[in-house]
Symmetry: C2
């Protein structure tokens, strides 16, 4: 190991500092792109009240875990930050966050979870009405694919196509939307651990896994790294949901920024109801170990942001 590398490896990695810069870039880009400015070549921009609901749903809130995963995977490939891939990674980071944001807006609607509080604020339908929330969610999903397909030559078409392919599959009926449908159908139903895992792999895991795969694709990652990130994404995707289930019973609404205790109240099957609290905590730590092993086995042992994000997913308090 060279002296420079030795020095690097003993510098403690600070996830907070690493995240801060990237989150600033994401917040700025989202604010620039979720807008009612008239796009070039069109007669009309989006109506202002629809855009207001979209901005409310997207800006100033959330952990931005998915964008951070895009950047962490992208940077693990050690491309220069001024590359074409970096411009694509910023778009991918924002696009996956738009999909996540739309899913929350629709999930909170009265016909779904009927939730009134999200990130400590009234949910979108409480603030803007149900119909506007529905349309804002629909428009956010479309906007995600707009962001991935800039017509200014800033992202190579092959990369645009692959990013759209990854995101649409992760968001759709064999991904997030499919997981939500299983969730919906399973209220009050006894599920096996295997069924519960399938639901969460689709509902939450698909989009988290997609985040790291999009980041890797923006950096033209080699196959070995892509496979490692696939396994890493699957492990933290499931871990995220196990921890969500734990927090639903152990944290209060103020800490969560959303209504605590909803799952038990709604008679939803969870890891805690299935395995108990202690076994759920143990399972989350096992999944963290799997994520770490995937990185180490795939030649990504030095990818500090990916390691730190996995740790954050499992050991978070909200």
């Amino acid at each position: 190991m060279s002296k420079a590398n030795a020095a690097l490896s003993v510098t403690p990695f600070c996830l907070e500092a690493w995240s801060k810069l990237r989150l600033q870039a994401v917040e700025q880009a989202l604010s620039d792109w979720v807008t009612d400015e008239t796009p070039c070549g069109l007669d009309h921009g989006a109506p202002a009240d629809l855009v207001a609901a979209m901005r409310y749903a997207v800006l100033d809130g959330g952990k931005r875990l998915r964008p951070l995963l895009v950047f962490a995977a992208f940077e693990a490939m050690n491309l220069p930050t001024a590359s074409v891939g970096h411009a694509a990674a910023v778009r991918a980071a924002c696009a996956v966050e738009l999909i996540h944001a739309y899913s929350l807006v629709h999930d909170d609607l009265p016909c779904m979870d009927n939730d009134v509080l999200r990130r400590g604020k009234p949910t979108v339908h409480v603030q803007f009405g149900e119909a506007s929330a529905l349309l804002a969610g629909d428009a956010l999903q479309a906007l995600a694919f707009e962001l991935l397909t800039p017509m200014d030559g800033s992202v190579p078409p092959e990369m645009q196509a692959r990013l759209c392919a990854l995101l649409s599959r992760a968001a759709g009926s064999a991904g997030m939307a499919g997981g939500q449908a299983i969730d919906l159908a399973s209220v009050g139903q006894p599920l096996t651990e295997r069924q519960l895992r399938t639901m969460h792999q689709l509902k939450t895991g698909a989009l988290l896994q997609c985040s790291v795969l999009m980041g890797a694709h923006c950096a033209d990652a080699p196959l070995r790294a892509v496979q490692a990130l696939r396994d890493y994404g699957a492990a933290i995707g499931l871990a995220f949901q196990v921890v969500d289930d734990i927090l639903d019973v152990t944290a209060d609404s103020a800490t969560l920024g959303k209504t605590a205790g909803k799952d038990a109240c709604n008679d939803k099957p969870t890891y805690v109801s299935l395995l108990g609290l202690d076994a759920s905590r143990h399972h989350a730590q096992e999944l963290l170990a799997q994520a770490t092993a995937a990185l180490n086995d795939g030649g990504l042992a030095e990818a500090q942001a990916l390691h730190a994000l996995a740790d954050m997913v499992v050991n978070r308090v909200n």
Copy 2:
């Protein structure tokens, strides 16, 4: 003109026969692609009940105007039907229909138009419940972008990227979803003709125009033809809505396959309420003339299917 061409030009064009073959291909492709089969490389397919709602929303119904416009524009460029572009056109035709279908599912929901009848059948939320209808719509939008981004090499990545760019912009906040938001906000409001036109350009026009542009792009159409199709699409997009407004007051529910008289009942601004019935009919014919002129001026005078579809849009009875 050669003898062969002269013979062609006197053969009367039969839209019904032309449409029949293309509709069979679209129905088959939609049935194959809206499925719960596990996609290659994934552990799980989509849940069966979600797919059932998606299929109900998409199959066996509708005029399929948008897919027919894709094919008509594609064929106007005279590429061989076995070309790569043709495979892309089939995907584009299905993708735009999925976007249209999802918009109807969401539009029919109680928080929007609260409609119980569509294409002569109970609407999706009546049949499957509101939450399933919401998710089926969401999943259909994602599936549209899946169809445009096959990972099997069957469509060149540049074409995939451009098709996603066109469709996402037509579906989103400065397109269809934006038009629906204006529609929502305008109930009971007096609109000028200009405001009404803007609403319809976004709500209906954007996706119809996108259909012909996607078809043209699949055939690598020259700029002059693209511009002609842009004008043609704008004219028939608006005409479609003018005629919809006319039929809402002149046709009965059985003919329409949906509830007639809804607009007046909901106090929605329409061309008929703004201009009166006669002037609306006259305006529809003007728009047909504009569409025809756009084709003729753009070197597409021989594009019989495009001419016939414009005529059908304006002179339809349901």
